[in-house]
């Protein structure tokens, strides 16, 4: 009799599927990679073969300028890997193209969530609960204090501020992949149809989203603005790193906003000089993390990156078998 789940094991550089000689989200180049989504810490370049959703592959192509070894797998489609392993990509609700990976081998089912959230997101299909034996979950916001408010509430805060100070503009720092497009899409859903001004680093990703059927309305580059005045009373979006950079000097007295789950904590917002914190996250909050574990109801929970200590403690308190994987190379994304 073989040891349960011995065919899949966490290594420092990713999760290794031994019979298939394949890795999930490896942080260094390998011969066969399954990539959950396009964020840089999950989707590294240089693999010989990369299995991912078509959207994720398009995002990787944008970043690494190559499609070499790309093997598209649609949501719900099952791929046969060597060594009798089956892999199915299931929506994770994190960003465009994001997927959980369901692996099946020797009658055992393992789900790797990658990054995920349970909230509605107009830019990607929602997370699907998938039963399994081993549930490998992220824990980015794995502390009980994280309760992400409804996004409409935060978008409302943004629009209120815009109306209250029409002589300024609101500059939103948002991760260039996912967060930025979600904020734009939610602004549109809230009826905000004005031009939204973009930092140059946002442009291609926004175009890619539109090509994949996510309409974002009238977008223009800040660098193309005829004058500072054209930006007054408008929303501009830039990567978080540009918020306090000299790039922002070309804007008319911007209200510095940031769309991130970390904005829940005042000191975090203050450290970054944020005047208008918008608690908008593309990750599961504490409630989502814990209810998802309960719904999936696996026999074991493995916890990848984030604040794994607290989620581990929760599993212990709820008599669930769990352990933390010491993976390297994952970062706290700016969301």
């Amino acid at each position: 009799m073989t040891v349960p789940f011995s065919w899949i094991r966490p290594e420092p550089h990713g999760i290794y599927i031994a019979p298939a000689d394949a890795w999930v989200d490896p942080s260094r180049p390998v011969s066969r990679a399954l990539v959950t989504h396009g964020h840089a810490d999950h989707a590294r370049g240089g693999h010989e073969a990369t299995l991912a959703t078509p959207e994720t592959l398009a995002i990787m192509e944008l970043r690494y300028q190559t499609r070499e070894g790309a093997l598209p797998v649609s949501y719900g489609e099952t791929m046969r890997l060597p060594g009798n392993v089956q892999a199915t990509f299931i929506p994770a609700g994190h960003v465009l193209g994001s997927a959980q990976v369901l692996l099946e081998h020797a009658g055992e089912r393992v789900v790797i969530t990658g990054d995920y959230k349970r909230r509605h997101d107009p830019t990607c299909p929602p997370f699907e609960v998938t039963g399994c034996d081993v549930f490998i979950t992220e824990a980015t916001f794995g502390l009980p204090l994280f309760t992400h408010p409804p996004i409409q509430h935060e978008i409302g805060k943004l629009l209120d501020r815009l109306a209250a100070e029409p002589e300024r503009c609101v500059l939103v720092g948002a991760y260039a992949l996912g967060k930025a497009q979600r904020v734009i899409a939610e602004l549109r859903a809230a009826g905000h149809n004005d031009t939204i001004w973009l930092h140059g680093a946002m442009e291609r990703m926004c175009r890619l989203y539109e090509e994949h059927g996510v309409p974002l309305g009238d977008l223009r580059l800040v660098s193309d603005a005829p004058s500072k005045d054209a930006l007054r009373g408008h929303v501009a979006i830039c990567p978080p790193s540009a918020l306090n950079d000299r790039w922002s000097r070309r804007l008319p007295d911007p209200v510095t906003a940031m769309a991130s789950g970390w904005m829940m904590v005042r000191q975090r917002a203050r450290q970054r000089g944020v005047e208008l914190p918008l608690v908008i996250s593309d990750h599961a909050d504490w409630h989502e993390l814990t209810t998802t574990i309960a719904e999936v109801n696996p026999s074991e929970t493995w916890i990848t990156h984030g604040r794994e200590d607290a989620l581990l403690r929760w599993c212990e308190l709820h008599q669930r078998k769990a352990h933390a994987l010491a993976l390297v190379g994952y970062e706290d994304e700016d969301d």
Binding site: N244, R246, R266, G273, V274, E275, L276, R307, A310, L317
Partner: protein, 535 residues
Amino acid sequence: MERFAALLDALVYTISRNRKLALIADYLRETPDPDRGWALAALTGGLDFPAVKSGTVRALMMERIDPVLWTLSRDFVGDTAETASLLWPAPAQAPAPPSVSEAVALLSAMTRKSVAAELAALLDRLDATGRFALLKLATGGMRIGVSSRLAKTAFAQAFAVDVEQVEEYWHGLAPPYPELFAWAAHGAPPPDIDNLPTFRPFMLAHPLEDGTVDLADYAAEWKWDGIRVQLVRAGEQTRIYSRSGDDISATFPELLDALPFPAVLDGELLVRGAHQGGKTGGAASFNALQQRLGRKTVSKAMLAEFPAFVRLYDALIVEGTDLRSLGWAKRRAALEALIPRLPGTRFDLSEVVEARDFDHLAEIRAGARDEAIEGLMLKRRDSPYIAGRKVGLWYKWKRDPLLVDCVLMYAQRGSGKRSSFYSDYTFGCWDGDPDNGAELLPVGKAYSGFTDEELKRLDRLVRQTTVNRFGPVREVERTLVFEVAFDSVHESKRHKSGLAMRFPRIHRIRWDKPVHEADRIEALRALIHQSDRPD
């Protein structure tokens, strides 16, 4: 409470001082009494609820959440009040939130026995933002970037009254300051503070830049290197206030029974020693005084070793007569007349410096380099005592700064308006011959003394010549020389160079000067004797 909570939240995230002032002023105008008075007390640190401490809040949480999860959360957030406000298990049906006054009344009534149940009931009535505000208000230490002075300035701005008048009444009043609001907001007569030992705002001086003054119109006094204080005796009590209006009476108990009659006096607080001249004995160095500062209680040994006294500059009020509207010469005469009535161990008079003319005065000032004197004060002989800095009445004429050429080594981003600029500069001097492999050692840091145009150019240079990054700090190529001005230089173990400058600022940017021509450490070290007081 919701309005107050929203104000605190907005203040946390507002960087600009003017916007902070406007936020507080709007709140004070729009909020009814006595809520706004309690809020003002909270912002100025004037509330204390002995039964409610940080530990109380933690204990309350421990009953409601797993201790491990609490500790992990608290460590992540870094603030007990905020963590508790986020983790509090709110009831499904929250009762109506309290007003600020109701919250204050309930908090005041709490005892160590009742606090667990009563604070919990209060938290149940608030949302997360409200809970944060309540816990901050209850445990003190707002940490929201609002000083007591800023809150008072906002009050003055809200009701178009003079902030110095607010300061003057402030110390005689208690929260929620009904008399203050009655006066400022409703036009009632000002609060009566005559029999209270309250602080009167100081008259301050402008720097004398390049001009001269006519000594027929101005009198000169030494500017001593101690701390400026105000001694107030009224209603049988004596208080000592620092320049910012902080009550530092407890730090200098030996002075509290030294003033035998009601008065408000302005002077320099010093400790005895042989090194700063004066009629009745000298004062010790500033270092000696530093031993006494910031203490809440003072040992007998301290009192014996570093006894404090006040070198008097001015008399504002004497035995009920307000002298402030009189000219300086008349007040000076009144002050001199007081001296025989004061104990010589605790008081002396700051001498008027006599000079034939301005050039002669300049000579005296230049000769005073070694005398542990910060410089000269020039006071218009006919000027009344007016709170704040009024142009043309008082000047401070500091000793010429010392100058040294240093090389820019590191730059750091500024704060506020300057946060997109590298505006804080660390510079160094050579530890030997730069043409013979000497290295630069940091000797100081400055973030002033240049124009906006120069700042832009410096910022550009920093970005173009960066060789290393450490978080917000950039190390730059050694290409630029600053002529740095400073008041004095001292031995310091904190710097690798062994030296520390006092008040360094950029005097000139020497775009033209090659870095190997910058000064060496020895040159800076040689200036110690010129600037330091002999100990």
